[in-house]
Each structure stands twice: as C-alpha cells, then as structure tokens.
C-alpha cells in the first residue's frame, strides 16, 4: 500500500514540476518575444510567415472538408432532434463554442505540433541548436518565438475558417442534398451569436495556440542523445497537447458560461 501511495505521490510531484517547467518556458519565450531587439527582426519575421504558411494555408485543404462534414452532420442531427425549433441557435452553440475550437486544435496538433516536435528534436540530436548558439544566436528567439506567433495566429485564423465553413457550408450542404426545411436558419444564427461567443473563441484559440506551441517546443528541446528518443517525444507531445486543450476548453467554458 505504501508503495502505491509513494508511486502516486512521485507521479504527482513529477506532473506538477513538469507543468511549472512549461509555465517557465512559456514565460521565457514570451519575454524574449516581447523584448523584440533590433537584431534578427527580419529573420524572425520571415520564419513567422513560413510558419503561418505551413500551419494555416497548408491546413486549409484538410480543415475545409472536415468543417463541412462536421457542420452538416451537426445541422442535420439538430434539425431532426429539435423539430426545427431554434436549431440554428443550438448548432451555433455547439460549433462555435465547443466543437470548433477543439477540432481546430486537434488538426493543428496532428499536423503542426508533431512536426515541430520532430523538427526541434532532430535539431537537438544533430547539434543544430548548438550551431545556432555558436553563432551567438538565441535559439529561443529564432526557433521558439516565430513558432509561437505563427501557430497561435494560424490557430486563430483556422478557428474562424472552421466556424464559417461548418455553419455556412454545412447549411449549404444540408440545403442542397436533403429535404430538411431550413427556413430561418441563418436568421437564428445571426441572433444566436453574441460578442461574448466571439471573444471566448478568440481566448480559446490564443490559449490553445500558446499551450500547443510551448508543449511541443518543450518536448523538442528536452535533452536527447539518441534519434530513437524522437518518436517517444513526439507521441508524448501530441497526447499532452490534446489533453491540455481539453482541460483549457472545459475551464474556459465553465468560467464564461456557467
């Protein structure tokens, strides 16, 4: 029994220590990002644009069909379930407040967070980060800051795209391929969405973006000697990012909607 309690205690202490490390790392990236010295601005700007392209633009062919499928499925289900009563409002509640942010975060985790962890891990194992330091360049500034800005902005943009496509596209798909009466749907949506919903969406996107980037960068930067440690770090990073996003989503929903 003592062994079990000891094990639980050790795991708890390790988890708390890990979360504190993540906060410290996030603080470090944010302070370096906000200090924005003159040196390296052009280079950092270019890496941010590249990251935006990889995370946002290249994700569009993935996120648009998913948004259409999710949007039309939700609209069909709620149209049937609600007997046409206020189903535009219910769809908005579900898509904008809960499903949209989580699915967008999941796509970013699967596409970008794993890629970033692998990239940074390889840079670590192959001494590329040492090479940066030997050039007098802070890896946090040229590697972490652009990814934090790029991924967070991309997530915000993708979140807006997901909501628009799933609601408008979903409406169009249902209208085109089913006989479900859709009268008043857009009007209900316009009435249902409040400034608060949009603000909460932005807050969620910001928190998800920061959490995903910091977690995958941290896992990438962790001390590694062997290339075989890279897949382990990637898997851990993806699972952790998803769990943290679920917690944050629930926390923000409780704070704003309860």
């Amino acid at each position: 029994m003592q062994q079990v309690i000891g094990y639980i205690g050790r795991k708890t202490v390790q988890s708390i220590s890990h979360i504190l490390d993540l906060f410290a790392f996030a603080y470090r990236i944010l302070t370096i990002g906000l200090s924005n010295p003159k040196e390296g601005r052009v280079l950092v700007g270019r890496v941010i644009v590249q990251q935006l392209y990889f995370t946002a633009i290249q994700a569009l062919p993935v996120i648009v069909p998913i948004a259409l499928l999710v949007g039309s499925a939700i609209i069909i289900q709620f149209a049937r379930l609600s007997g046409q009563y206020d189903f535009g409002r219910i769809s908005v509640l579900l898509i904008v407040r809960e499903v949209g942010p989580i699915i967008t975060a999941m796509i970013v985790i699967l596409r970008s967070a794993t890629a970033v962890t692998i990239e940074i891990s390889y840079m670590r194992v192959l001494h590329e980060l040492d090479a940066l330091e030997m050039s007098g360049i802070d890896p946090v500034r040229v590697v972490c800051v652009p990814r934090l800005v790029g991924i967070t902005s991309a997530l915000l943009g993708l979140f807006i795209v997901f909501d628009l496509v799933s609601i408008m596209g979903g409406y169009a798909v249902v209208w085109l391929v089913t006989y479900i009466p859709m009268s008043g749907f857009l009007h209900q949506i316009a009435k249902a969405i409040t400034v608060g919903d949009i603000a909460v969406g932005i807050i969620k996107a910001l928190f998800f973006g920061i959490t995903i980037t910091v977690t995958c960068l941290y896992r990438g930067f962790e001390m590694k000697q062997q290339i075989t440690e890279v897949p382990v770090a990637t898997s851990r990073s993806a699972v952790e990012c998803f769990l943290y996003c679920l917690f944050i989503n629930a926390f923000i929903s409780i704070v704003f909607y309860l």
């Binding site: 052009v42 001494h127 590329e128 090479a131 030997m134 050039s135």
Partner: protein
C-alpha cells in the same frame, strides 16, 4: 613585461567523463593572443570534451569560466551567446541547419545580426567556395551533399563570422586532404593576426609547424607546456 589578459580562462575546472574518457579534474587553462595550442592525448573523448568546454558547449562539474577577463555565469545561457559568437568551432559535432541551403547557412549570421537577407556571399568566402569546389552547390541543402562538402561549408560559416578564437578537432580529417593546403593557409592567416587557436590533430606536420604550446591530457589531469621545436623537428 606584463602578460596580456587571457581571452579565455578556465580555473578550478572539472569535466565529467564522456564516452571512453576519464574526465579532466580540477585544471587551469588560459588562452592568450598568439597562442597556438596542440592537444596531446591518448583519449580523443577527453580532448573533445575539453574543446567543447572551451566553446562553453558542455558545462563543468565545478569551475570558473572567464571570457576576456569577465566571469561568465554558465547557468545563464543567454549571457554566453556573445562569447560563443567570438569562438569558431570546427569539429565533427558541428552541424549545418538541415532545412537551410548551404548559402543560407553561411549567411545566417549576417541574416540575423545585420537584418540583411541579401544572398550574395562576400568575396573572401566566395573565393574559398571556389577553391573547395562548393560554389555550384551553394543553393543545395546539406542532405544533398557529401560529408566533405558539408564540413567545408561548416569551415566557411565559422570563418565568415570572424571569430576571435578558433577551436579545431582533427582538421586534417574534417577538411579533407584535398583541401589541406587551404587549411594551412587559413592557419597561417589566423596566426599572423595573432588570434589564438586550440586544435587536436594527429598530423605531426601541422603540430610542429604551428603549435607553440602543448596541452597534455593524461589520466584525468591537464597540463600545458611551452614548446620550441628543434630544427630537426621542423617540417
């Protein structure tokens, strides 16, 4: 006459063992302008560990690291960056950024510190690229090139950042025998300017021709001796 202030000074330094090395215990080492130090050891892991310690890439178990007389806090990595910038590190564990082309790797320092994304390399580096036959390959990524070409690009990158101290790990292997004359010329230029060099080499010619100090690493201890080569030794 007063001796010049050491550029680099490691005191009370202890390095943990790595690989097959024994580590180096409680040593003192200083590097001044004009020093050309050859490392003499039976254990390359200890020598590599020592070179990495000079480059502040490995931290000691204990000890003080001074750069240009200023004591550096090894825990504050950001404070070490200006020192690292002034150290040229040419060794098998030096790397190029794999997602950049050779040109971008060589120019990365300028991209960052001068906010200049122009793609032209300066004349001296261009001439070295021609000599080492990598001019045609500047727009390829490291994975498209052979090992010698990548290592040559690392040498050019380190030279282009105009360091104050040069650290070399077996340069004759690193740079390739085909480019050995170029290495000798680089060495000459370097030493003429009075810039200090620490190198590990198994090429006796290189040691006898250039070294004026020897760093002996044996059984976990480090000592340095001034050397004067006799005319029979000179090549």
């Amino acid at each position: 006459m007063m001796k010049a202030l050491p550029l680099l000074e490691l005191s009370g330094y202890t390095l943990a063992p790595t690989g097959s090395g024994q580590g180096i215990n409680n040593f003192y080492f200083s590097l001044r302008r004009g020093d050309v130090c050859a490392i003499d050891t039976q254990n390359p892991d200890d020598a590599r560990s020592f070179l990495r310690a000079l480059a502040s890439l490995v931290y000691p178990v204990k000890g003080t690291y001074r750069f240009m007389g200023e004591r550096m806090d090894l825990k504050a990595y950001a404070e070490l960056l200006p020192c690292k910038q002034k150290i040229g590190y040419i060794a098998p564990d030096a790397a190029l950024m794999s997602n950049l082309t050779l040109r971008q790797n060589i120019l990365f320092h300028r991209y960052y510190f001068e906010n200049d994304l122009a793609i032209n390399v300066d004349d001296k580096i261009g001439a070295l690229c021609d000599i080492s036959q990598i001019s045609e390959k500047l727009d390829q990524r490291p994975s498209d090139l052979n090992k010698m070409e990548v290592q040559m690009a690392i040498v050019l990158r380190e030279v282009s950042k105009r360091p104050e101290i040069l650290l070399l790990d077996r340069p004759e292997d690193f740079i390739g025998h085909a480019n050995f004359d170029m290495l000798v010329q680089l060495f000459k230029d370097w030493i003429t300017n009075g810039k200090p060099v620490v190198f590990l080499s198994y090429d006796r010619r290189l040691i006898r021709r250039f070294a004026n100090r020897k760093i002996l690493i044996t059984s976990g201890s480090l000592t340095t001796v001034e050397v004067k080569w006799s005319s029979e030794d000179a090549v």
